[in-house]
Amino acid sequence: MDILKLKISEIQNLIERKELSYLELIKEVFKRIEENKELNAFISLFPEKAIKKAEECDKEFNKLKEIPHLLFGIPVAIKDNIAYKGERLTCASKILKDFISPYSATAVERLEKKGAIIIGKTNLDEFAMGSSNEFSYFGVCLNPINKEYVPGGSSGGSASAVGGNMVPVALGSDTGGSVRQPAAFCGVCGLKPTYGRISRFGLVAFASSLDVIGILSKYIEDCAIVLQVISGYDERDSTSAQIAVPDYLPLKSNLKEVKVGISKDFFLKEMENSLIKLYEEFFKLLEKKGVKLYEISLPKIKYGIYAYHLIATCEASSNLARYDGIRYGLNIEAKDIDEFYIKVRSEGFGKEVKRRIILGTYGLSKGYYEEYYGIGIKMRKKIIEDFMKAFEKVDIILAPTSPTLPFKLGERTKDPIMMYLCDILTVPISLAGLPALSIPLKYKINNFPISLQIIGKPFGEKEILDFAYGIEQL
């Protein structure tokens, strides 16, 4: 039996029956990571700390005679743009390669409070800017389904670690699709919660009005367990929502209860026919199972990719101005302060990050602000209105997660626009701040599963998890 292919509740059952210990579980995790070293899913690992915690969990369990929480003693990986006290926080960038975080993110603190064990920090595109995990200072991360392909990005390391059965769950971050797209490429579940549902305290800012911490897991239930723990108001994040967190568990299929919207606007003419046909087949299956499907219209989502890149690059150029070598960054010899700033930033940032800083600075500069950023903001409002109008008619919207299947390493790195288009189906949801869950379907092309994006109303995570659970049971 492969314990790392089990659900968290099944792992805990084994521990309860004394067929497995937390120490054995953690040792298995590090063994698996070593076996999959080639995937380069991790930037940092904490074996000593994790083994010590697992031993403490075993002692505690033997004393209590019961498991205090489903996450107790469970190994969790976190993306390396999320702070973990006393450990490196690199954002996969040379400029932060030696930076040690003085505090932990709220989401990480909440996980640890329930006994979860942070085993390491995963690879990503530098500062979460990318869709293939090929823009990391620490090297390319590979897809566990086929190593010649990219794992998606920017949370490629987290997706690769979960898809490669190295950990049951991992945290990622999603600004324009960075949890959902790699989840789709690696055949796992990826949840982007509503903006404000999970505290951003301790998440390194890329585009603050879009960034959220997300969850990657193999099973919907595991995703719900983690979401239950890390959701909720946090006074340290001024954009954290003061809205009560419902009970996500137990999951209950709502397939026959919800009204489901499908929009042609998500099925682009550039998408391959074979891919579109599989989605059509799946929607027919849903109808056969009694799911009520409605056609909806979202005409403004076609502006999403433009609006997203304008807003995100502008926010990034402002957020990344702090990396000046004084508060954060490299220690480089220079003759004056101007030369110092330029040397640190030029040597510290990679090509894609520099490109986005330049584009953002351009978009915010005098004479171009209204023309670019201003229009982007107005488009964003229109996209939000589109979704809200659709949600007057339906409870959930279904769409493909990605317009393509995973692509080969190096295939898109030379064409930034092609790379940006990877997120064309995920960015409208990010702009609207809505929750969305990407799940793998049973249909496959070249061994890669096709993925479905389940989009919910604001703070409608419960509905989308129950719906996904229903699909998982089909």
Binding site: K378, K389, P416
Partner: protein, 90 residues
């Protein structure tokens, strides 16, 4: 476009080796042209360019600034007598 991008590279406190600069400017130019599509699209639907009011329930709420009870200074390394020490810069 080339001059504008060169100026922005300076403003953003960045620098490129001469052999990379030309390609970088070309790539940026392509992306800026790609953004121009947005202007074309928005002209097709003129109402988008007008200021729009959000009449729907937006998940983004008003930002409120509040200092928590947590003592952030506790987390700082080398914090003594109201100051914190950083590494030598120049």
């Amino acid at each position: 476009m080339e001059e504008i991008i060169k100026k922005i590279i300076y403003l953003a406190k960045l620098n490129f080796p001469p052999e990379e600069l030309e390609d970088f400017i070309k790539e940026c130019g392509k992306i800026v042209n790609y953004f121009q599509e947005l202007k074309k699209l928005s002209k097709e639907e003129k109402e988008i360019c007008k200021e729009t009011e959000l009449t729907t329930k937006c998940p983004l709420r008003e930002d409120t600034v509040k200092l928590g009870d947590r003592d952030f200074l506790k987390d700082l390394p080398n914090f003594k007598r109201g100051y914190f020490r950083i590494k030598k810069i120049l």
